[in-house]
């Protein structure tokens, strides 16, 4: 399989004191759902933001679908940030229109269809939605693009188990087999069934990058149990 993402010799720090990555090398194949797993502060969000083009590496190279991170890659990368960036006073239909303007690959009909199933009306104001519904709307917007790479930063944190199931189902239903989803989380047991590959990040180092089922048969343990062992304090 071909590499969709190639990261080589990337260095990234915040100021001089805080080095997150000193020499990051990582390739991501296309057509996979990949879990980016690590404790808080291990560099997950920093990595995702570099792929989204929001942070620049201090050194090294990041290529997505053959291009250096920039306008060309932003057109094929769909990013769900950890925190909402929507203007909360907008109505759902305004958000949809905004996405339609911004992204050529946004499928409006698909977005409205998914919202209808949740009984969310275009005239509802984002601010007035429950936390779970806000998360769902953001995921629907991100998954309604026909991107090559989806970056989902903690998509299931802070929502109830039913909403979590809904979010996972939305990911499975909308995932097309050409695309890759990179999903960061520390709630591993909830999502490990849907992962092809897992990446463990520990203090800016990739300590493991493997097929989830291969890892299970090697260790006779769940990904969650292995994670707990690797990151034991």
């Amino acid at each position: 399989m071909s590499n969709l993402v190639e990261i080589s010799q990337v260095k990234k720090g915040y100021g001089i004191r805080k080095q997150v990555f000193t020499d990051l090398n990582l390739n991501l194949e296309s057509g996979k759902i990949i879990g980016l797993l690590g404790p808080n502060g291990s560099g997950k969000t920093t990595l995702i933001k570099m792929l989204a083009g929001l942070l620049k590496p201090d050194a090294g190279n990041i290529m997505i679908a053959g291009n250096k991170v920039g306008p060309e890659t932003k057109a094929v990368v769909s990013y769900l940030p950890e925190r909402t960036y929507f203007n909360e006073s907008l109505k759902i239909k305004n958000l949809v229109n905004m996405f339609k303007d911004f992204y050529a690959d946004f499928d409006e009909a698909r977005a409205y269809h998914m919202m209808e199933l949740l009984k969310l009306e275009p005239d509802m104001v984002f601010k007035k939605l429950s936390k779970g519904n806000k998360e769902k709307i953001q995921l629907i917007m991100v998954m309604s693009r026909k991107a090559k790479l989806y970056l989902l930063d903690e998509p299931i944190a802070g929502v109830d188990p039913a909403a979590r199931d809904y979010i996972l189902q939305t990911i499975i239903t909308n995932y097309d087999s050409e695309a890759t989803i990179l999903l960061s989380t520390h709630l591993i047991s909830d999502i490990e069934n849907i992962l092809d590959d897992v990446i463990f990040v520990k203090e800016g180092q990739i300590v493991c990058h493997q097929d989830a089922d291969a890892l299970r048969s090697q260790r006779g343990q769940s990904v969650d149990e292995i994670f707990r062992e690797v990151f034991k304090c």
Partner: protein, 120 residues
């Protein structure tokens, strides 16, 4: 049918076992069409790639057959159809016997235990 997974062994192998069980119990009949990969992945709550892998492995084992245009079907196993059931049963027996031996039961005791339970 609801799918349950034990995350400590490969998911695709567990899917294979569960489908074999469905065939052994007659819930899936020879010649019957298997639902599309994506639909099955959705009901099972797993990645479509994982479901695809399980189904292709079952195909390789001759338990499913695929027809390029019409989809995937349960193979007509003929005389071998009983094997799925006995294989699955054999696995359960192995698990039971190993578990009892681990607890320190000898062979006579574990056989007696089965007999007692059955005659209850």
């Amino acid at each position: 049918m609801s799918w349950k997974f034990d995350n400590s062994s490969p998911i695709y192998m567990q899917i294979m076992e569960q489908i074999k069980k469905m065939i052994a119990r007659g819930e899936l009949k020879p010649g019957e069409r298997v639902p599309a990969v994506r639909d099955m992945a959705l009901t099972a709550g797993v990645n479509p790639n994982t479901m695809q892998k399980a189904l292709s492995e079952l195909e390789r084992a001759g338990i499913l057959v695929s027809n390029r245009t019409a989809g995937r079907f349960v193979a007509d196993l003929g005389e071998n159809s009983g094997n799925l059931k006995s294989d699955a049963g054999y696995k359960l027996t192995v698990n039971y016997v190993n578990g009892m031996r681990e607890l320190g039961f000898d062979d006579k005791e574990l056989v007696d235990s089965v007999r007692n339970y059955v005659s209850k």
